[in-house]
């Protein structure tokens, strides 16, 4: 007997993600899923954002890593609530892991929640977490061909942060061509060229974040 199924394989994950989203909404939290390859600057962007917005809004961080709690310790020093997820080998966070982390996060004390995904440009693109915005960080040393190599990630991003812009004089990276390529397949994407090291462009990024929060 043949049974027509026609169901998304990631349906179960999507359902948990929808529950996470409701939970975050009921607590008035804006959740941002930060994705990038390893070393592009996810933790640095979180730290630069905390530096700019400390005292203005309450920030919380969920740190996803395959192993170790190095990033959680670094971010924890800033005095914001941090929950560590160790995926134990999995190359991405899924909605269930985030749901467990949310149980350990003091949500009434959080207005903006960063979810730092595992460093990877492939798998995290497929797993919804319940976030409101998907932010992709792409850094100059990775090269300007990344949109062509990882199209799904660039297609689903709400925001692309181009990090390490201070290295532009030393690298062959065509920022205009890079931005044009992304906008070619993702018309709605916002692009922020920044340097977490020098602070260049961070203000534009945090203004965007504050704007998203005020719209809620």
């Amino acid at each position: 007997m043949e049974i027509k199924v026609l169901k998304d394989i990631l349906d179960a994950n999507k359902q948990i993600a929808a529950r996470n989203r409701q939970w975050l909404d009921s607590e008035g939290v804006l959740a941002v899923n930060l994705m990038s390859s390893p070393g592009a600057g996810k933790t640095s962007l979180i730290l630069a954002t905390i530096k700019q917005l400390k005292g203005k809004i309450k920030i919380g961080v969920i740190e996803g890593d395959v192993s170790s709690s190095l990033d959680a310790e670094t971010v924890g020093k800033e005095g914001v609530p941090v929950v560590q997820i160790n995926t134990g080998g999995e190359c991405h966070l899924d909605a269930n892991m985030v749901s467990n982390a949310l149980s350990n996060m003091p949500l009434p004390d959080v207005e903006l929640l960063f979810i730092e995904n595992v460093g990877n440009l492939i798998c995290p693109a497929s797993f919804a977490l319940g976030e409101h915005k998907k932010v992709l960080i792409s850094s100059l040393p990775e090269g300007d061909d990344k949109p062509f190599k990882y199209p799904l990630m660039f297609d689903i991003a709400d925001v692309v942060v181009i990090n390490k812009i201070d290295l532009l004089p030393y690298l062959k990276f065509d920022t205009d061509a890079f931005s044009r390529a992304i906008k070619g397949i993702n018309k709605k994407v916002k692009i922020f060229p920044i340097s977490c090291a020098t602070g260049q462009g961070v203000q534009e990024w945090t203004s965007w974040l504050l704007n998203q929060m005020s719209r809620r």
Binding site: D11, I122, F148
Partner: protein, 113 residues
């Protein structure tokens, strides 16, 4: 690596559907996989053999229909297959494209006894 998590989700979905009709055995599973999903059919088979042991889906044949990445050019409106990811329309060289297929990842049907 994410094929493991996805294969587990797929198996859960198949067993749930088979359970609804009280099937004794799952013979075949038809999957539809978009090329852009980054999902490798060979890996699915490998993990499926591992994960399905001891379930009613053990030994089932996996059939994967791969969907190529297709796009519509926003300038000239033509539809085409994106063979190389240079994101350029082969008709008018426009580079504003809308991806129309290639992200699929679903179970189309199953055959049970």
């Amino acid at each position: 690596m994410h094929e493991l998590a996805i294969t587990q989700s797929m198996l859960d979905l198949v067993l749930e559907q088979a359970g609804k009709v009280e099937a004794k055995e799952v013979r075949k599973i038809d999957l539809v996989i978009g090329e852009m999903s980054g999902f490798v059919a060979e890996c699915v088979q490998f993990y499926f053999d591992l994960l399905s042991k001891g379930t009613i889906a053990e030994g089932a044949t996996l059939s994967c229909t791969m969907i190529p990445t297709r796009a519509r050019c926003r300038s000239c409106g033509k539809l085409f297959e994106l063979k190389q990811f240079d994101w350029t329309c082969p008709y008018c060289q426009g580079n504003s494209l809308e991806i129309t297929s290639g992200k699929e990842l679903f179970v189309e049907s199953i055959e049970v006894e």
